[in-house]
Symmetry: C2
Subunit: 217 residues, 2 copies
């Protein structure tokens, strides 16, 4: 499949490398077509690099993997209403604000979320919030953990979520590990988990952990 | 031990009954000494009922288990600066606002928390946030779940947290299941998990679940 990835940081490159490994034709997009990180990644990983708009146009399915502060702008710069019309966009970002130091706060939360903002900004794009509750190394290698654990999907379009679940399964996630929380407003829940995640990361000194939901038998 | 519990709803009564079972001398406190729910509980459970101030004065250790909207007022009505001076207060509450319908929002979050508010209001009281990430039935019966799972403590006073951990162990929690997140500001993390908890409750139709943290080996 042709996959676009908006964002050339650690998350974008990690997702991109995994997608190439899975046999996809991947383009990493950034503000500039001359982005050194993206060009270097493309050469090393047999992928491609381009602008946000080029990566969005390239992908049949597109990840948004920028820093939260750039997510909305990345879709605007990508000309999303045209390049992403009708496509499934997996939003793995979080609205973290590190500008006031640690711990970060959220720039949007409580009665709104970044996932909802993207969906409002681009009603013709099928936004699915997913994978935003963990370190990127774990997103693409869920079997790194010694037992089962969970990830969440939020979105308004059932078919879009089904496509995301299928992709997650190809990445090593098991069917029963993906919890469909409901519509895109449920992204509030997963984004607001980040302040706890950040504290756990601080206490445990590793990002290689995730949540397992344990139910009474 | 003498234990006070501020709040006579399901959470307060569940905690109270467990504390009686563990052999403690328990008083449930409410706005009025004539609270029917508290008096009924006291008769059925071999506990006591009184005002917030009486329950606070009674307890060597005190739980706050009101609805979040009443938590700060409960401590004020309890005359906390006198009745709770130097005592350990376990805050199990969450700042949930159901007034705008479902899902609830938080009345305080992001750069503050209810736990911090209580600690600021009453600097002489040793506030420990704990157990607020789950259904009350699970707080007092952690072995109800078929495997290990986790709870969190947040507070500024290490000795106070150690007392809470000891009490949690007496309730069935295992040492390694209690994660000390740090000072009381970390209550932001556990309180902000509630929007995800509420969605999981909605999807799964049960409150009998909790988080297990799974780490890479």
């Amino acid at each position: 499949m042709k996959i676009g990835i908006l964002g050339t940081g650690m998350v974008g490159k990690t997702l991109g490398t995994k997608m190439v490994e899975l046999g996809h034709d991947v383009m990493l997009g950034s503000r500039s077509a001359e982005n050194a990180a993206a060009l270097e990644w493309a050469q090393a990983s047999r992928g491609r690099a381009g602008t946000f708009a080029e990566a969005a146009a390239h992908g049949e399915l597109v990840f948004v993997a920028t820093k939260g502060e750039h997510t909305a702008a990345a879709l605007t710069l990508a000309n999303a209403d045209e390049t992403l019309a009708g496509k499934v966009v997996i939003d793995v970002t979080n609205p973290l604000d590190f500008s006031k130091g640690m711990p970060p706060t959220l720039t949007i939360s409580n009665d709104d979320s970044l996932g909802e903002l993207l969906q409002r900004n681009h009603p013709g794009v099928r936004i699915v919030k997913a994978l935003n509750t963990m370190w990127c190394g774990l997103m693409v290698a869920p079997r790194m953990l010694p037992e089962s654990h969970h990830t969440f999907v939020s979105g308004n379009d059932a078919d879009a979520k089904a496509q995301v679940v299928a992709l997650l399964k190809s990445m090593g996630w098991r069917d029963e590990e993906v919890v469909d929380l409901g519509d895109i407003t449920t992204a509030r829940g997963t984004e607001m988990y980040l302040p706890l995640w950040v504290r756990l990361y601080g206490v445990k000194g590793t990002g290689a952990f995730n949540l397992k939901l344990v139910f009474a038998g």
